[in-house]
Point group: C2
Chain length 208, copies 2
């Protein structure tokens, strides 16, 4: 554990969460407790030994705790402690700063549908908070995601929606550009996006 050796809040924070991969591990755990294998799959590119040492460091720093999963599965789960959860505003601030970076397209980068949660929460707002909920399903590759506008808030969850108002199938950067109004529907379609259901559902979402 190398330290900056400075009596400065930023430096001490970075002593704990500033190493490579650490905040990305926290990102994964902010979506709920995970098994080692889940984390490894959610962090493409990380070496397994690094993941193991980071988890040990985070546990020692009091940001996460191991726990035994309930009987049927009987494995180890990693869960953020309250102190670890307190990093959410940090990750949100970085996520907001990153908005222009997401507009640059996916290039050759890896992508997991779970990662849509962050931009959906940070970049989208509900244009019509007083109307009944609008639900869309987004299919970008590995897993479908449900994005829902309800009561002025945006919620996301993994999985399919029986009652989706619309279903988008597209590359993640195209889907995001459409939802954020950076491109219009014809342009998105020209870039391979498929839309089923009621296309008016999209208007429910506006850039935050």
């Amino acid at each position: 554990m190398r330290s900056y050796g400075q009596y400065c809040g930023l430096a001490r924070a970075l002593d704990i969460v500033g190493e490579r991969w650490t905040l990305l591990i926290v990102r994964e755990l902010l979506m709920g407790p995970r098994r080692y294998t889940d984390l490894h799959q959610g962090l493409p590119g990380i070496a397994t030994n690094l993941l193991a040492t980071r988890l040990a460091d985070l546990e020692e720093a009091g940001l996460l705790a191991r726990e035994d999963a309930p009987p049927p599965v009987a494995t180890t789960l990693y869960r953020l402690t309250p102190r670890g959860e307190e990093l959410r505003p940090v990750i949100e601030a970085l996520g907001r700063w990153a908005r222009p970076l997401m507009a640059q397209g996916i290039k050759g980068d890896a992508f997991r549908a779970e990662w849509l949660t962050l931009p959906a929460q940070l970049y989208l707002a509900d244009r019509e908070p007083d109307r009944a909920a609008t639900v869309i399903e987004v299919r970008t590759g590995d897993q479908p995601v449900v994005i829902e506008a309800r009561d002025g808030a945006i919620r996301t969850r993994m999985g399919s929606a029986e009652d989706a108002d619309a279903v988008i199938t597209a590359r993640p950067d195209i889907a995001l550009a459409l939802l954020l109004g950076r491109i219009d529907l014809p342009t998105a379609r020209a870039r391979g996006l498929k839309l089923e259901g009621n296309q008016r559902a999209l208007r429910r979402f506006k850039p935050a």
Copy 2:
């Protein structure tokens, strides 16, 4: 420039500002334009070649720009671009998260008076916004700092105050603990703190 290669805002942000020392350089520049030598002194422990490459990376990423200082000095200044300034909320979020870490005392860490700016802004509030300004000078070692409560806001600046209501001379962790109300004045005095002037001036400040 190593990349995580993930289409995720957090990962892309960390591709740019996640390397060692980078956010600490931004911390320095958030306090105003600096010369190379100022930066080197404000970042105890950084290797000079690392500072040079980080500055080049930050310039290429559009977060800072070099400029020539006005005639009398005639040197190069490094200044954050607007995009670089937008990192302020990120550093503030990390600074807030670090609050318990600052309570752990200075241990053997290096300290610069300028670093008091962050905790003063983030951890202190004005208890009596309607009264005339209260000004205190804090002497912690290298340079004096002025902390001022005025109109409900906390301001800091480097230097001395002619008209200070009180002057504190102490180790930075002791001064901070006193201002934040974590220890009382007798305890602080027992730990070597000296207070001149009106000790009621301290009551103007409360923990944020």
